[in-house]
């Protein structure tokens, strides 16, 4: 069928795509159903999207903690405020870096995998086969991956934050000789559970939803060819990164 909306100013193209993505999400949400099979499949997806992303999250988290502490400590000591490194580290991680970097890493590791999987399922007629068995592919394929991403990303943010703090402790306490009591004490005194940690986790949930939504959407709408699937996986990373950064600014503006 010819797409009546296919022509028009190039500026409208991203808007049209956004409209399609929103429509897709609305349809997927309308098809939500919680059965024993769905729960089992969702747990499997949490394992694939979450547990299997642990290596990249832990590695990146640790080195982000190291480098962030290195840069911050170097700058703060020029002003004689080296002891405040743990405060800066914790606030940066909890409020911004943890949720944002985790969501982008999730898009690169699990999001692309979800997109490629669904795109290939379309290309190899697996989605058609489900429909022909009277099994709703939105329910069987999309829903578990959406919920899986929504749960996995906040959990991964926690892991990212913990390993980044560990990296910070290793650099500041073990290498630079900052007093451990001062390090943890300053952090405890300045970081607020609700305002700093809580807002960061709210962002994590929002980013998880965005990352999972865009991953399944790009897979679902991929052209059923190898080029189509390749393009869709690239789009997943790009659109997720852009959407997460824009949403991060919006949420930060409201939360501060």
């Amino acid at each position: 069928m010819s797409d009546p909306g296919a022509k028009g100013p190039a500026l409208l193209s991203p808007l049209r795509e956004l409209g399609r993505a929103v429509l897709f999400l609305a349809t997927a949400l309308a098809h939500m159903r919680l059965t024993r099979l769905q729960i089992a499949e969702t747990l499997r997806q949490i394992y694939f999207a979450g547990v299997r992303s642990l290596v990249i999250i832990v590695t990146c988290g640790f080195f982000v903690g190291l480098v962030l502490t290195l840069q911050t400590y170097d700058t703060l000591t020029r002003f004689g405020a080296g002891d405040a490194v743990s405060t800066v580290l914790a606030l940066s991680l909890f409020r911004e870096l943890g949720p944002v970097l985790t969501a982008i890493l999730f898009a690169g590791r699990a999001g692309t995998s979800i997109t490629a999987e669904i795109g290939l399922m379309r290309a190899t007629e697996q989605l058609d086969a489900l429909e022909l068995m009277a099994i709703d592919p939105l329910e069987r394929i999309v829903q578990p991956r959406l919920i899986g991403g929504l749960i996995a990303v906040p959990a991964l943010v926690l892991v990212f934050n913990m390993t980044a703090l560990l990296g910070g402790v290793v650099f500041a306490v073990a290498l630079m000789g900052v007093d451990p009591g001062t390090f943890w004490g300053n952090m405890q005194n300045t970081v607020e559970l609700g305002r700093d940690f809580g807002h960061g986790m709210l962002k994590a949930v929002a980013f998880g939803a965005i990352a999972a939504w865009l991953a399944v959407y790009h897979g679902w709408s991929a052209r059923p060819t190898s080029e189509g699937v390749a393009l869709a996986t690239t789009q997943t990373v790009i659109t997720t990164a852009i959407a997460v950064l824009i949403l991060d600014f919006v949420l930060s503006a409201f939360m501060l």
């Binding site: 069928m1 010819s2 099979l37 399922m121 190899t124 007629e125 697996q126 058609d128 086969a129 489900l130 429909e131 022909l132 068995m133 009277a134 099994i135």
Partner: protein, 272 residues
């Protein structure tokens, strides 16, 4: 599951016209697929054979005309009714389309788990029996990637008949099969049709094998049915296209060359 009182339904397409992408695929097509028989739908590539199958499954709706399976008018069913009808249908897609993240066992069990409340012990027995029918009980724990293309299609056949359907639809089941797999597939189609008393539709190019499995044949070309009847009767047809198709002639009503300007004109035209 099987209802002993049920009867396999006939499939009827009446005055079907369908346009896709601005191109008329089918025009005033009329087709009657008899109940309980195996019908082969043949025709040149791009003639609309798979489109007919997609009309029967309700994946496509015609611009005009009616599609009937028994007393159900497929093109007017809502999503819920269409799903109910699809539970009575088994469809074998061209490459099998097994879910690659599930084992053969779980693929065949999928429709049973989704659409019945049977206990897992009974599902296990049913799945093993279905796999036994297609000769792949021993491959139950294997993944589709570990099997050949022909074996994948046999597992997909087992999955298609998991709910003992009234209608079985096969899309190019013989494409790319070696002679042994071809023989196995031919026997399976006949056996399944007889055992389940289904109305079976086989989309195929395989002219040579049609008489071994089909009770009825039809040839689609030029957007409509150009010939139909028992395989032997069709072989005697004097229709030019039927003869070209059955004898595999390179040129005829279906031209060898895609429409183009004259060769000399094309070769001598200065490069632009």
């Amino acid at each position: 599951m099987t209802d002993d009182s049920r009867e396999s339904p006939p499939i009827r397409l009446r005055d079907i016209t369908l346009t896709l992408g601005g191109r008329v695929i089918l025009e005033n097509l009329n087709l009657e697929l008899p109940a309980g028989k195996v019908t082969a739908v043949m025709g040149p590539s791009g003639a609309g054979k798979t489109t007919v199958l997609r009309l029967v499954t309700g994946q496509l709706k015609p611009d005009a005309g009616e599609v009937w399976i028994g007393d159900d008018r497929v093109d007017q069913l809502d999503a819920r009714a269409l799903n109910r009808l699809r539970r009575r249908m088994g469809v074998l897609l061209q490459n099998g389309a097994l879910l690659t993240d599930l084992t053969c066992f779980d693929n065949v069990a999928l429709p049973l788990r989704e659409h019945t409340d049977l206990p897992e012990s009974l599902i296990r027995r049913l799945v093993l029996l279905k796999l036994q029918t297609v000769g792949l009980r021993g491959a139950a724990k294997m993944y589709p990637r570990e099997l050949s293309g022909g074996m994948n299609r046999r597992v997909a056949t087992a999955r298609a008949m998991a709910l003992d359907p009234d209608v079985m639809l096969y899309d190019e089941p013989f494409a790319g099969l070696d002679p042994i797999s071809l023989g196995v597939s031919l026997r399976l189609i006949r056996d399944i049709s007889q055992a389940l008393d289904t109305t079976s539709v086989v989309i195929t190019h395989d002219v040579g094998e049609v008489r071994h499995f089909a009770d009825h044949c039809c040839i689609i070309s030029d957007r409509k049915i150009v010939a139909q009847g028992p395989p032997d009767e069709l072989a005697g047809s004097d229709h030019a296209l039927v003869q070209q198709f059955l004898k595999g002639l390179a040129d005829g009503p279906v031209p060898f060359h895609y429409p183009a300007p004259g060769l000399a004109e094309d070769l001598l035209e200065p490069r632009q």
